[in-house]
Point group: C2
Chain length 173, copies 2
DNA sequence: ACCTGAACACCGTTCAAGT
DNA sequence: ACCTGAACACCGTTCAAGT
């Protein structure tokens, strides 16, 4: 707060006229970013594509503001449920049901949450990787943050597809 | 640091005789916890089970100390690479190769990271879920933290299995 | 070898006051 | 309506000093 006021050329207490505390300010920022993510139309494609689209949308917002990821994702599941609801609708349309809807959603949410703690891991200090790994290091050079995220999302989608298949199998009995 | 000293009945500066700063103290705690996780023997079972076993091991350590998750996972990929190497060996034994080893590892690491930011989400305030969701809420009651983690790990494993299958397909060409 | 006390630079925030 | 200044309770940490 003090740094913000300093950068705006005001006294330390100036922000407190607009906002009641630091938390409220961060909430407003998170709210703004969340509102910029669009949900795909229900009939705009297969669930996999719609899911990927929301996740990439959230990723894009977080990309330039990794600092508020925590607040943002916390809001997503408490006060600002628009995106959470949207994702759950996608999962329902995919065929998830009952507890599985929440399990699947939580899994996705958790991955997103991790993404913005790690971020810096994208370029993992290839220096002094031991034994078996040393030979693999060259492969690391070409990988970028987006590659890691894309691979993660793909893997999650494949995983969910498998869960869905076994759900349908057990339903048939 | 001040609170630690207070609880130990020492002056605020007492810890600084043992440790050069707060970061170093947290590192020592993280190191201790990481060292308590055992890696399964390479021939102790299929890769899926060995992977699950390490992840559950890490989860168990983090469970009672969610606060140091950030430091712990950061160490895992920087100074304390024992577990990271172990997981990567498991992935290699599963058939991953080249960049895919790192992509798969990063995906897992990211999920773990998210797990301990979210934690509290495990019981998501079923109050005022809107429209389509209201009907699903009863299913939430029975779900516990462990269920969410187990489902996440299962989904990741299924996802990785699918990635592996397509890797092998492309290798055959 | 182990610890203390005073001090510094930094926070978020309360409260009374200024224009 | 919009902002300031002084003050408080809290940090992590430096430095010189005590036993």
């Amino acid at each position: 707060m003090r740094r913000l006021s300093r950068e705006l050329g005001r006294s330390a207490m100036a922000p407190y006229w607009y906002v009641s505390d630091k938390q409220e300010l961060l909430d407003l920022v998170a709210r703004k970013l969340l509102s910029e993510v669009t949900l795909p139309e229900p009939d705009s494609g297969p669930w996999e594509e719609r899911l990927r689209s929301v996740l990439y949308g959230i990723d894009a917002e977080l990309h330039d503001h990794p600092g508020i990821a925590g607040i943002l994702l916390e809001r997503m599941r408490s006060t600002d449920r628009r995106l959470m609801n949207g994702i759950i609708e996608i999962l329902l349309s995919a065929g998830f049901e009952g507890p599985n809807v929440f399990l699947a959603y939580a899994m996705i949410h958790t991955y997103l949450f991790g993404r913005y703690q790690v971020m810096e891991m994208d370029n993992p200090d290839a220096t002094d990787l031991e034994d078996t790994l040393a030979g693999l290091v060259p492969h690391l050079a070409g990988l970028r943050g987006r590659d890691f995220f894309a691979y993660g999302v793909d893997t999650i989608i494949e995983g969910l597809r498998a869960q869905l298949a076994s759900l349908k199998r057990s339903r048939r009995r």
